[in-house]
Amino acid sequence: MLWRHRHLFANLYRREIRNRYVGSASGMFWALLHPLLLLGVYTFIFTLVFRPPELTGKHYLLFVAIGLWPWLAFQESLLRGTVAIQGYAGLIKKVAFPHELVIYSTVAATFTLHLAGYLLVLAVLWAVGQPLTATGLPLALGVWALLFLASSGLALFFSTIQVFLKDTEHILSPVMQILLYLAPILYPLTLVPPDLRVWVAANPFSYLVGRLREALEGGQALPVSADAWALLGTVVVLLAGRAFFLRMSPYFEDFV
């Protein structure tokens, strides 16, 4: 059904990518520079200001880099996806096409840019001698694929809510900011007090960055049973988000 519309998806996807820099020369540049600046600031705070003893002797820059780009891809695709239906209101009111394509193209474009930045930064870190191995790369890409599917499912869900409740985007933005600090992206799980650790570990992002670090730093190349559960959870999120979206999308035109 969606396969029939692959040309439309390709067009929307290309447009989403171009929209990031068309009209502003620095758009593409910022797509890479913004995460780099964040990386620099976090490294400054945690290795020069706080200096927790647990981090001494570790490659903190690499540690954060591995988790930061997936997080930004997730956060940005969710925030952009949430307002995507509104952004395409002009088309939705005038042209008949599957509305979900708008979400997929927005999420896919965001992931494309951040994955490209990720690979570039990892290559640079590897080139300067940081302990990275290529053997875990396919597994890491598999984890990215899971993240992409889960982000799409959530974006489908939140974009639907946003059509009806315009506050959604304003609530989501600070929530995402808070979630960043609740996930072991900027700090290792071992730094969390033991009785709170189980809560932080329950965050899906703990699994996600943990697997990325095992793959890229540890060189792990083979899936484990947790990956199967993650896949199952991802598929559930995607299908539930899509079902919700498709149930409500016939009414979008009335409300956007």
Partner: protein, 398 residues
């Protein structure tokens, strides 16, 4: 033959959007599969069947639901009630340039617009030149759309829509934009499209285009199907309706002032009443009965004006009128500039119906008409005669 398009009692409700609380209620109601509580009916109970090659013009005033109907047929929205079945490839131009991004060039915009209409990349490769040629906007094709005139956007939009080779073409007021030569080009294309068995759904305020391009016409009025039939018949009715409406608006403006008003122009009527013999104002008179029309005329230069009093039908058709000087009647001078007049109509021969009594002021030479005052008057009574007025007659025995 199976109809290409069948709309069966379709209707569309739109929610009234108010505060966040009602948004939440709407959302929950829709999620539970109920309709929203607070809505207005944009469209109701429309039933249309079109066979291949038949074309339908959709007419009606602004807000009558024309665009909503086209959106339903195009598949942009789902009807709230009824069923719609469309069997054919639809190309809809609901708004020219929808899907165009102002920052991109015309050529770049063709890609997405074509993809939205269902054209694949391969199809488009073959069609792109055709589209560019049809749009015929020269070098502008490589310029961002934001620098285009609205006419050029229309050209490009129509060019893309034609490339899809639709079975059903839906256009909403497309022909209203664009210069005349492009309009002619569009009409030529549509005529060829129709000759090849295409089906057109055209929404337009131009009765000329509707009559020229469509066999059938649908007149929507306040979201309802007011009339469906041959385009000649429906457009004529529609035009008649508008004429009547315009006249009603004019008549209302003329009758609105109270029984006196300030002089307008060199000669005018400043007071006018329709009354019975006892002086009571009337809004109806009896067939074969009587009424009086009385008033005051104003003369700027103090010379005695000529007064015209007459009867017109509600649609403005004059029934009878008479000038005071024809009957040798002279309005009675009240002061230097004002003259009273009164006329009695007896044995009123106009058949029961809606009329208006008119008074005009003319110059003393009865050459120029200066002012009009109109008062509605219904003629009531029992009569099975037909026509406008009674003509005295007798049936002959031999």
């Amino acid at each position: 033959m199976e109809p290409l398009l069948s709309l069966d009692h379709i209707g569309k409700d739109y929610p009234r959007l108010k505060n966040a609380g009602s948004q939440l209620r709407n959302f929950l109601a829709l999620l539970r599969g109920q309709g929203v509580a607070d809505f207005y009916r944009a469209l109701d109970d429309v039933t249309v069947n079109l066979r291949r090659g038949e074309s339908l013009g959709i007419i009606g005033e602004n807000g009558a639901g024309k665009s909503t109907l086209l959106k339903i047929i195009a598949g942009v929205i789902k009807p709230s009630r009824g069923s719609n079945v469309v069997r054919g490839r639809v190309s809809a131009l609901l708004e020219l340039g929808s899907g165009f991004h102002p920052e991109y060039t015309g050529l770049e915009n063709i890609d997405l617009a074509a993809a939205l209409l269902g054209l694949s990349a391969d199809d488009l490769r073959d069609k792109r030149e055709e589209i560019v040629a049809f749009a015929d906007i020269g070098e502008h094709i490589n310029q961002p759309i934001k620098h285009y005139s609205s006419g050029m956007v229309v050209r490009l939009g129509f060019a893309v829509a034609t490339a899809v080779e639709p079975e059903i073409l839906i256009t909403d007021e497309v022909l209203a934009v664009g210069d005349e030569s492009f309009q002619k080009k569009c009409i030529r294309w549509i005529e060829a499209f129709l000759a090849d068995g295409g089906t057109l759904l055209l929404c337009s305020h131009s009765m000329y285009h509707i009559q020229k391009l469509c066999q059938q016409a649908l007149w929507l009025h306040h979201g309802r199907q007011h009339m469906l039939g041959s385009s000649a018949e429906v457009t004529q009715e529609y035009l008649a309706y508008h004429e009547k409406k315009e006249l009603a608006a004019k008549a209302e403006a003329a009758t609105r002032p109270a029984q006196a008003r300030a002089p307008q122009g060199a000669y005018s009527i400043v007071e006018f009443r329709v009354e019975d013999d006892g002086g009571t104002p009337l809004d109806s008179a009896t067939y074969r009965g009587s009424f009086r029309a009385t008033g005051t005329a104003y003369s700027d230069d103090g010379r005695e004006p000529v007064v015209v009093v007459g009867l017109v039908r509600a649609d403005g058709t004059p029934v009878y009128g008479v000038l005071s000087e024809m009957d040798g009647y002279r309005p009675i001078r009240i002061d230097a500039q004002h003259f009273r007049f009164a006329i009695r109509f007896h044995d009123l021969l106009t058949l029961p119906g809606k009329y208006a009594v008119r008074a005009h002021a003319m110059d003393p030479e009865a050459l120029r008409l200066f002012d009009t005052w109109e008062i509605e008057l219904a003629v009531v009574g029992d009569s099975r005669e037909v026509g406008l007025c009674h003509l005295p007659h007798s049936w002959l025995e031999s």
